[in-house]
Symmetry: C2
């Protein structure tokens, strides 16, 4: 039998895993430093927890788990012969795989609310599953790395997320632009032009400004049924230019009559006032076309774009006011952010930014050529390991070439050779693999080298 | 809607997660130090990869994933109305959740054999899923932490695994006994007494020696249909006492006529010769009753028992000669070991062995009482973070009591208070939460404290 891997899933070899761990370690370290605490939720959730939370399309993309045991026993002839897959699923599946980390987190907060100290700063790094059609860069199993704060309206947290983003990408060496918007400003715009349901059309059109020009955008807005009067009012927004404060000043004029719009502007001003004192390495830019998860976010909307690679958004987030409401706990505001580990991997790979150490194998591999040689090496090997140095021994007295091939293939840094001469003189010959230089060392000398 | 968690699964709160991470970090560090390299395989595997690998019971315990889309469309009336859940499963499910890490690892080795340098030392720390009836200490989702070497027959690796076990449990502070057996000795015993199929009955009976005595064991063996002559031959084995070498000497006499039995003894002697020079902190004891995964292991069998807690085996492993044979790659011998993270957690908890640092929150939380105080604290906060110190600020100018409650609940080590006096004197009042002592510090003094 020739084995196969499930469509849209991946094996991670040691080399890829080492790179992935580098990414996870940087992100985890940033999360820790900012006071976020790790939780984990089960991969398997009740379908009642998941269904209806991701739209109709999301319901289809959930992986459902067949009930154990005799699941078909109690189905009626009618239910069976109808062959209605959706109805049947409800009868034979009670559980599904996590689709994201946000809904399970909301469930977690509601179920553990008595144990949690609010504001609750949590991070979570776990895989999620979606039955999407697999394609380049899109997988059916992938990791999300989320940080959220729930139980506080403080806009300090928006600023803190931006600082974390800046911190992480600076450490990765990836230059980014951090884009910032506010759902309340978008609501204000639709309020002002009297087209509350056209917000998506408007942001989609604005987004095309660079491509199709002002006339093109105006034409597109007309085809969407937006009135000439409304389009007139939109002009200053379509033409929004200048630095963040200039943009906000323009918006203040346009949205002067919209309470919610002004609230959004004030929020952005407060967030900017915090981050402007933070000496960020990357720029923060207000971008009204940013509307990810429109129905979900209620305040800040955040997105990160890599500057040196054409890859789209590599991370994003925002504020939501009623995450836990779906599970009966109202009034818990939250703000959160998700690092896109797979996209970050691709960017680091393309820009050749993974640190060289990431791929290093053990520090020392011992090579011996008979049983006596192996016995000779064992105390040396153990001495290194007990000092915390990664070390191994080639497990048989094989020919030098074979042992060196293994050392090369596993990126060993140094090979410690124990031939007859070395054993006689109580030394090993330490060969640095990257340079080929050799040096005879006593155990004491070897230990002091690492 | 009141949310629920799926039966047999768990949420891990920050406090529990911190303890779990402590365990995973120790194990991961030991694996690294011994030259094992991490891989990951997908949670979802083809059912064809998983079915038939864990026995009939295992097939039932696999979580199966319903095919996406219109899975019922092509089922015939007959197939539907038969209501045969097993047959229907084959028609409507192609994928399942990983049941252990071993079978996916075998698949991995076969699929990646051209890229792998053998001997391949891999470790893997990932969850597995089993539709077991949940009970105390048994979950439907749990982590396995496996290290295996494939592609070498060298018994050095058996010794290396034993050293790793000793290393890890020494660091945990858990006193253990490492039990050692060899499948070939068990085969030799059944060969000698002419009852090849009775090995399980014999080991089960020997295992009861302490409880029911020699006469009881003899009686039980008789009821299993083992001849008087065979029971006579078994006497020296039932009475096996002394240190490891005394036991092996007795076995040499009993198994003198069994080639495979003598091979097993020679293997154990070689493994012991390596570990006897290693100055282990824990004892290694030959135990013939050890027969875990009898059909699976072909050489060494290993198990770890905690000495100070009655909890059964907390880790185990052994050598298998044909793991990848099921996927068409013959002749790849391997030896591996799995740390039982959940059991280790329970032992550490019962013996109160988790290090105190495990539960510590951020090093410093800043407390301010108005907007000016918050603005005053931000540069201090950022200075600590950029030094790698975990720090946060209470996000609103709340009353002291509320802020202190949060600090206590999240195990903050120090609270840095910025009231009017502190702002005037360019200091913060640093309060150590465990002692209550306070000290006014400048930014420079604060940074040098950490």
């Amino acid at each position: 039998m020739k084995p196969n891997i499930a469509k849209g899933t991946r094996d991670f070899t040691p080399a890829v895993m080492a790179k992935r761990n580098y990414i996870f370690n940087v992100i985890r370290d940033v999360f820790h430093r900012y006071g976020f605490k790790q939780i984990e939720t089960p991969s398997i959730e009740q379908l009642s927890t998941l269904m209806g939370k991701y739209g109709e399309e999301g319901d289809k993309l959930l992986f459902k788990i067949l009930n154990s045991g005799d699941f078909a026993a109690n189905l009626t002839d009618e239910q069976l012969l109808e062959r209605n897959s959706i109805k049947l699923t409800n009868k034979i599946c009670e559980k599904g795989l996590r689709y994201d980390l946000t809904v399970p987190f909301a469930r977690f907060v509601v179920m553990h609310r008595e144990e949690i100290a609010f504001p609750f700063k949590r991070f979570q790094m776990q895989p999620v599953w979606r039955a999407d059609r697999p394609q380049k860069g899109r997988y059916r199993e992938f990791y999300q790395c989320d940080a959220d704060v729930v139980g506080s309206n403080s806009l300090l947290y928006e600023a803190e997320l931006i600082e974390m983003i800046d911190d992480a990408f600076t450490r990765f060496g990836i230059r980014v632009e951090i884009k910032l918007n506010n759902r309340k400003i978008l609501s204000g715009i639709s309020e002002i032009i009297g087209e509350a349901d056209k917000i998506t059309d408007i942001t989609v059109a604005i987004d095309k400004l660079e491509k199709i020009g002002l006339d093109g955008v105006t034409a597109e807005l007309k085809t969407k049924g937006i009135s000439d009067e409304a389009i007139d009012k939109l002009q200053p927004i379509l033409n929004l230019t200048g630095n963040n404060h200039e943009k906000l000043n323009t918006l203040k004029t346009v949205l002067a009559e919209s309470e919610i719009g002004l609230k959004g502007i004030a929020e952005l001003e407060e967030v900017l006032s915090y981050v402007e004192t933070a000496n960020l390495h990357n720029s923060v830019a207000i971008d009204l076309t940013l509307a990810r998860g429109l129905n979900y976010y209620t305040g800040a909307i955040l997105e990160v774009k890599a500057l040196d690679v054409a890859i789209g958004s590599i991370s994003g987030g925002g504020r939501y006011d009623n995450l836990t409401g779906i599970f009966g706990l109202e009034g818990v505001s939250g703000v959160g952010f998700s690092f896109g580990a797979d996209r970050i991997y691709d960017v680091l790979e393309q820009l050749n930014l993974f640190p060289a150490e990431t791929l290093e194998g053990v520090a020392v591999m011992f090579a011996a050529f008979d049983a006596a040689g192996i016995a000779y090496c064992l105390p040396w090997l153990r001495a290194l390991r007990s000092k915390g140095i990664a070390a191994e021994i080639y497990p048989e007295p094989a020919k030098m070439k074979k042992q060196m091939n293994y050392a090369n293939a596993t990126n060993v840094r140094f090979v410690a050779i124990a031939g007859d001469n070395e054993m006689l003189s109580n030394t090993v010959m330490l060969k640095e693999m990257s340079t080929g230089t050799q040096e005879a060392l006593t155990l004491e000398q070897l230990l002091s080298r690492f």
